[in-house]
Symmetry: C2
Subunit: 413 residues, 2 copies
């Protein structure tokens, strides 16, 4: 490598300082700088339920539904979102795509945190914690969209839950509304083992073609999971330029399966990584997803040479940007894009030696190696200190809520 002349840097700094154009020098020598990590699917309002009922049979019925019925309030969603954001930022995440209830409270938390969010108001036929009907849900969506119109960091979105939880008419209305409001759509698709048989029986179409028949699949849409996607399904998602949020940690923990992420990536689909919610994947940082993404694909295909470290890191950055149709603005360190950047330390014991920085990040790093994080050119974490969120105050606020849950919750029979 050519020797760098440090006097040139000094001259540049002097010139910039003289012209008052220099804001700050960040010394990252010996460190690794990557684009901000993108979490394409999560439910951050659920973090105060984490570790409740992990691995229990009928967890949805016995734990999640009763918890949501009794404890999900605007205040819980706000505090849980703030807690999740501390963990996400300290793991290098600068953009999230989220779907949950009382999404205006998540939007408030994300706006305060200084990172970016594509934030979907959840919609379903059945009564939800924040909406007795589908119409109440769409009313919330309209209010959210109005409230954050023109906000630099918040993109409101429609969140129809899944093919099996809304009627075809409601799904069509969601598409019309998203077009009218000019907002993205997020949904769960081809995730559930029962889903394919049910949708084929009801509609004659597999879930992915069924969504396409309703006009959902487009450059406006990001579909979470897509575990049960055959070659035709994959081609359809690619042709429609629909984003795919791949959640290997959650999908394996729930025993559902391993999505064909390698094939999506290889064929040029818009695929990024997601943690899913904190009751599903538990950890909220993307760094912890890199390793498991690689290993699940290699073991599924019986081939150690697929899904190489550089490809995994691409999925976690530019791939995530493409999945959210934001690749003009984020996902890589390029002139004209937002300065979402992560500085990774190489001091920890697992980060030595480093012959290949991609392999070190994917196979050796954990979120504690993330040293500093900038979103839109501003520090949201600097040398492990959070700059926009007060970690102690958030922990204290959340502890008041979790104490009530620990005392008041019993699983359904």
């Amino acid at each position: 490598m050519e020797q760098f002349d440090p006097t040139l840097l000094d001259t540049l700094i002097d010139t910039l300082q003289a012209s008052a154009q220099l804001i700050e020098i960040i010394d990252a020598s010996g460190k690794i700088i990557i684009p901000g990590l993108i979490n394409t699917h999560t439910h951050i309002g659920m973090s105060l339920f984490r570790t409740l009922g992990d691995d229990m049979p009928q967890r949805l019925q016995k734990y999640i539904f009763p918890l949501e019925k009794h404890f999900v309030t605007p205040e819980l969603v706000y505090q849980a979102s703030r807690h999740s954001l501390t963990e996400m930022i300290s793991g290098g995440t600068t953009t999230i795509a989220d779907m949950y209830y009382f999404q205006h409270m998540t939007a408030r938390a994300v706006a305060e945190s200084g990172i970016r969010g594509v934030l979907a108001q959840a919609l379903s036929s059945a009564p939800a914690p924040d909406a007795k009907t589908f119409a109440e849900g769409t009313a919330r969506l309209k209010a959210l969209t109005a409230e954050y119109s023109g906000h630099p960091g918040i993109i409101p979105a429609a969140g129809p839950h899944a093919p099996y939880s809304l009627t075809a008419a409601e799904l069509r209305e969601t598409v019309r509304l998203a077009q009218k409001l000019d907002i993205p759509i997020q949904s769960h698709l081809a995730e559930m083992p029962f889903e394919e048989e049910l949708i084929v029986r009801q509609t004659g179409l597999r879930p992915i073609p069924y969504y396409d028949s309703l006009g959902i699949l487009s450059r406006r849409a990001t579909m979470a999971h897509c575990i049960f996607a055959n070659a035709e399904d994959r081609a359809l998602l690619r042709e429609r330029e629909t984003g795919i949020a791949h959640n290997p940690s959650a999908n394996s923990k729930s025993g559902k399966g391993i999505a064909p992420a390698y094939e999506f990536y290889r064929d040029g689909a818009r695929i990024g990584l997601g943690t899913d919610g904190p009751m599903s994947g538990n950890r909220m940082d993307i760094v912890s997803q890199l390793n498991i993404t690689a290993k699940m694909q290699k073991v599924r295909l019986g081939d150690p040479t697929v899904m190489k470290p550089a490809e995994i890191l691409a999925m976690a950055t530019i791939g995530g940007a493409e999945a959210l149709h934001l690749e003009q603005h984020i996902g890589s360190l390029e002139k004209g894009k937002q300065a979402d950047m992560v500085i990774i330390s190489t001091e920890s014991l697992s980060m030595f030696p480093i012959y290949d920085p991609y392999a070190a990040i994917v196979y050796c790093a954990d979120s504690n190696d993330i040293e500093s994080v900038l979103a839109a050119g501003k520090f949201v974490m600097k040398k492990r200190e959070l700059k926009t969120l007060d970690r102690e105050e958030i922990r204290a606020s959340c502890t008041r809520i979790t104490a009530r849950i620990a005392e008041g919750f019993t699983p359904a029979e």
Copy 2:
């Protein structure tokens, strides 16, 4: 929960101090204490090669063999072992089972570190970095056994590499030698996709029954991997009380497959967790194996309720002790056993909330949450500060070696 009267503790402390029986008070309030973690299979002498050639085709031929031929010296093994031990201790590991070349140098490093090691001198038919012949390997094994006879922390062991890398006569001789020296045996078994066909063709037996026919499977033996183990193979290992070292991170990264760890555990086999070597699984801490162990089994069986957090933690502690036939001495916090203990902090962002401490350790923790580690009642790490190994000096010594590797190594054509 009944209210604890803190004056009782004060009285106890006063009494013990008056009788000079009190050594030290460790305040672990709000923290989690678990038995020391046990790594049942690794090759710590390889850590200075980490991230070289990850995911490359023919990595064994193009990277590992040339690296071992040109760079494996006693000094490299010693320094690489010391580096690995810093990472292992700071991840809560108090016992390792290792197999590699120049094992006397690994033994020196483990003895200096203050943790425990079952340390196997590698044996094979082919020339190795430390032995031109099988006989030279057994001579090294005899010397290692003599050197560490009666050492409280080091158990020398025989390490015949695999069914396909020694002759039947050499394997039989290894068993006789292990019996004579009264030492354990470690080997790789049912790991390679080619292994089963080869051994069946050569011997008419599957690899696991073949090893049994040579007398290897016994209470003296710990077999790494056992990926390709059918119901009869599993029953045989269980009946022989042979230990199994399960390495899900390495086995998935190499695309080989997922061992039937759940079935082994459910049926009462002696199964523990291992990282495998740092070129295979990369990370050397057992905490990072817990999560992937659970998820690989769930996705393999399509069932989220198998391999629950408490079972995973059992595998990483008492299961590891059983796999190494040391359950009388380590693996649980019980009167009469060694005081190998780990104190886990609950301060980090991912360790909140904790309704279920087992789920928090398995799905939310990482090695940075390990606060203090005691081996045989002595701190080897206290509040993240290593007490027996000098991390800065080790990094400097290792950097001198890795610089030579980075400069001098080119992959084979």
